[in-house]
Amino acid sequence: MTTRTRAATFALAAAVACNQGLEPALAPTSCPQGFVGVCGTVSFVGQVPESTAKLFVVAFDTFPKSQNDLFKFKPQPSPPNLPLGGPPFFYTLLLPPGRYEWVLAVWQKQGTLSPANADSLLRETGFYSDKGDTTGHGSGIVIVNPGTGTDSIDFVVDFNTMHRVCFYFPPCP
């Protein structure tokens, strides 16, 4: 093998050795190592409406006190989607460390969403609650610690029992 051939072979081998791009990653079944946020399993009840745009999961550090607080959710700007039904689904929700009072799934109807039409396009469709909780909106306090994920934040998405925004902030028009 000549010097040039060796050099070319070495260069090609080095280039190939560099090939460590993105690879398939199985959806996790528990919070991944190093992940900071909450994880859990969502189960589904009922049929998803035909007018569905998407279903997503969000968290509030304090329970909204008015409609104006509805968009102070995390993570911003685009929370992770949930599948539209099917078998139980393991979700991960990336959140900054802290205390969260409400982790819930939000159903969104087709259309252009804005704060003005949130009541007609958004529905609460399931949320996490502590065992024994009897409040209407749940009192699922979740603590997210630095450097680790909080597991088992499980809840049910019930397409048969979805609540408009005005359910929490009456009156409904």
Binding site: R4, C18, N19, L22, L26, K54
Partner: protein, 743 residues
């Protein structure tokens, strides 16, 4: 090189020599190889002037309107050593200068394509590259042909210090990624500004690649000559000169995209393909020359919802009615219809097959998104060399863009125009001094339902907005011993919707000091970018946020400094290195207000971009082999402001490395590029997503036989799967073959 006095035969051969006028002369001659065979389309230019031409089939050239006095003539042809000749011509004279070009040998290696000897962008006039006070990279027609790409950005992408992020150009980290809005790099087509009138972005497919002669990339602030948008640099796309006689070229391209490397990522049951056809015809006489180009291409894309159709036509007219007078008119129109792939889907957003993400698929909610985009320009430039000491040019231009985004729940559209005019003079009042002065006006307007300035949430409102710009500039270069000192400034006045004028002053000083083995260069200048109409008046919804307008945005500004050295280390090695430093103020960024659920562009950020830019070009081992190495180290920090702490600027790599090599054996060539981009330290949107460095290897081969040229290209040969823009897959391995027939 023989220089003969004009003879009776020459006068007979050039009957119009007597009509040249008292101040100019004619230079003519032949360009041949060592065996005496003529070169067709060899490029002959007079350095420091706009005068240049191509040889005809017999190898003859003729340059009229040559300023009396001492001139430097250059002739070059691909694969041969460039030749120079110095002549002194008298007014009304005719002079013959014949060239014999030698093929590249060990003693006379090919000119280094990354640092071609003459540029026209850095000082808004022709000058030797080593006389430019800022760093300039040149992508030659040889490189464009070798890479067998479809659009200009695909070829410019590998230039030293340049990086593209999903179509958005970065020169030394200037722009980052802001989804096509507000480029901090100015694009020119033959010196005419071509950034979009509404969004301020760049359409890289505006000019057919077939028509591009070379691309010059000026790094650092260039606002002292070019005004707004030249904050981080200038990219000038220079179209081909038209040769005398009849010429034609047909280029056919076909290719295919690699399928996903893992079955679990498979998204279709066929292999995606691309195909295209372009044809160019031209005819020229001594008086008038014209060319027409037309063509199109289709691509299935390499991911879901990524089909694209592109149609394009372009024309150019070159009229030389008088000696030393040249009128050039050109135009282009391109139409694209393409599916909009949006971001890739994550768990639950599509048929995820149990995966955390599917990089080849998009979210179900984004299916059906489609864009229609038309854009075009016309421009005319009148150039006149009035005397050996004075030349001037006037130009007018019209750029139009028209897009419609068809998406679920909303359709956005914008029709924008940018009209511009410029008058420029170049004077040489004394030996060793060059003065460039000019004035420029431009008017941009947009009629749209997304950049309306309306604060309601409906998209049924349609508004028109305008921005007017008035500018004057001047720059002087003075020889002082072996140094060339340059100083100049430009003042821009900007008015929006007929309101009051706001002024921006952009000074620049610099110098070049020639040494025995190269030259030192240094410069300090101020750049700015006026907010685009889109940033001022955008009004749309990005659920759940309402993006609201901010008509009071101010221009963002930056001071930019550079110290560089170009060195001829040996006859086979050339090195160029530059230290650069940029302090940016009032950078325009989207500000998210969770309380009001609104996003608004604001002047908020201060930033510092500093680093080192090094490029080496060499012919090691054998003159048949040309290699280059380019490395950019970038320290890009957003400085603390309000409650935001100091942090890395998003979408800027710390290390950018490009290795290139090409081997030529008779009519066969083979080569490749390897580009390494270090992992972004910070991104906006989805910072928790996995990020990897970019490592892309492109390979190419080519063979020429008579009028035919066949080139193969294997882009991303290792099928490296990566992304640089959030949840947007970068191109996978693509095999393409290009057949070109030239008459």
């Amino acid at each position: 090189m023989p220089l003969k006095a004009s003879s009776i035969a020459a006068v007979l051969a050039l009957p119009c020599a007597a009509a040249l006028g008292a101040q100019t002369a004619v230079v003519y001659g032949t360009v041949r190889d060592e065996r005496g065979s003529p070169f067709q389309n060899a490029n002959v230019v007079i350095l420091g002037t706009p005068l240049g031409t191509l040889t005809n089939r017999e190898g003859h050239y003729r340059l009229s309107g040559v300023p009396a006095g001492r001139i430097i003539l250059s002739a070059r042809f691909i694969g041969h050593v460039r030749a120079f000749d110095t002549l002194t011509v008298a007014a009304g004279d005719s002079a013959e200068a014949d060239f014999t070009l030698r093929p590249s040998t060990l003693d006379n290696p090919l000119p280094f394509v990354v640092v071609g000897p003459v540029v026209v962008t850095a000082a808004k006039r022709s000058q030797l590259l080593d006389q430019a006070i800022t760093s300039v990279a040149v992508v030659s027609d040889t490189e464009l042909a070798r890479r067998a790409v479809n659009t200009v950005d695909e070829a410019v992408d590998k230039a030293p210090g340049v990086q593209f992020l999903y179509g958005q150009v970065n020169i030394r980290g200037s722009t980052g990624y802001v989804q096509g809005l507000g480029s901090r790099v100015l694009m020119l087509v033959d010196g005419v500004p071509a950034n979009q009138g509404d969004r301020g972005g760049i359409n890289w497919d505006l000019v057919p690649l077939e028509d591009v002669q070379r691309v010059e990339i000026v790094k650092g602030a260039g606002s002292s000559l070019y005004g707004s948008a030249a904050l981080g640099g200038v990219v000038n796309v220079l179209t081909r000169d038209i040769a005398p006689g009849f010429h034609a070229r047909v280029r056919a391209t076909g290719g295919s995209y690699a399928n996903p490397p893992y079955d679990v990522w498979k998204f279709r049951d066929y292999t995606g393909a691309e195909e295209g056809l372009d044809a160019t015809g031209s005819y020229g006489t001594e008086l008038v020359r014209a060319s027409v180009t037309g063509g199109g291409w289709h691509s299935d894309g390499y991911r879901q919802q990524d089909r694209r159709d592109h149609w394009q036509t372009a024309a150019k007219l070159d009229w030389r009615p008088l000696a030393a007078t040249r009128l050039t008119a050109s135009g282009s129109w391109a139409s694209d219809q393409y599916e909009t792939p949006l971001m890739w889907c994550t768990q639950g957003g599509c048929n995820d097959r149990g995966q955390a993400y599917q990089p080849f698929m998009i979210d179900t909610a984004g299916r059906g998104a489609f864009t229609r985009s038309d854009k075009g320009y016309v421009s005319a430039t009148l150039e006149r060399t009035a005397s050996a000491r004075l030349a001037w040019q006037a130009r007018g231009s019209w750029l139009r863009t028209d897009f419609t985004d068809l998406q679920q729940g909303q359709d956005d559209f914008g029709v924008a125009n940018r009209l511009g005019a410029e008058l420029r003079g170049i004077a040489r009042p004394a030996d060793g001094r060059v003065v460039t002065v000019g004035a420029e006006i431009a008017r941009s307007d947009v009629t749209t339902n997304i950049f309306t300035g309306d604060t309601s949430t409906t998209s049924t409102v349609v508004r028109t907005h305008t921005q007017s710009e008035f500018a004057a500039y001047g720059e002087s270069e003075q020889m002082v011993g072996r140094a060339r000192i340059t100083a100049g400034a430009r003042v821009d006045y900007i008015a929006v919707d007929g309101g009051g004028l706001s002024a921006v002053v952009s000074p620049r000083v610099g110098g070049v000091f020639a040494t025995a083995h190269g030259a030192w260069r240094a410069s300090v200048g101020r750049g700015f970018r006026a907010p685009s109409l889109a940033e001022r008046f955008v009004s749309t919804t990005i659920p759940p946020f309402h993006v609201i307008p901010n008509p009071n945005l101010r221009p963002e500004t930056a001071w930019s400094a550079e110290l560089g050295k170009v060195t001829e280390v040996s006859s086979a090695l050339r090195a160029d290195a530059a230290l650069f430093w940029t302090e940016a103020h009032d950078l325009i960024e989207p500000n998210v207000n969770l309380g009001t659920v609104q996003i608004q562009f604001r002047n908020v950020a201060r930033a510092r971009l500093a680093g080192l830019d090094v490029s080496l070009a060499a012919s090691p081992l054998t003159p048949r082999l040309t290699t280059s190495l380019a490395y950019t180290f970038l320290y890009a920090r957003g400085l603390a402001h309000d409650t935001v702490p100091e942090r890395p600027l998003a979408f800027r790599p710390t290390h950018l490395v490009t290795l290139s090599a090409d081997y030529q054996w008779h009519t066969v060539s083979a080569g490749g590029d390897f580009r390494y981009t270090s992992r972004f330290e910070r991104v906006e949107l989805y910072p928790g997503d996995e990020r990897v460095a970019g490592k892309v290897l492109d390979l190419r081969v080519g063979v020429e036989r008579g009028p035919l040229s066949l080139r193969g290209r294997l882009a991303n040969a290792l099928n490296y799967i990566y992304n640089q823009v959030p949840r947007t897959l970068a191109p996978v391995r693509t095999l393409s073959v290009t057949l070109t027939w030239t008459y």
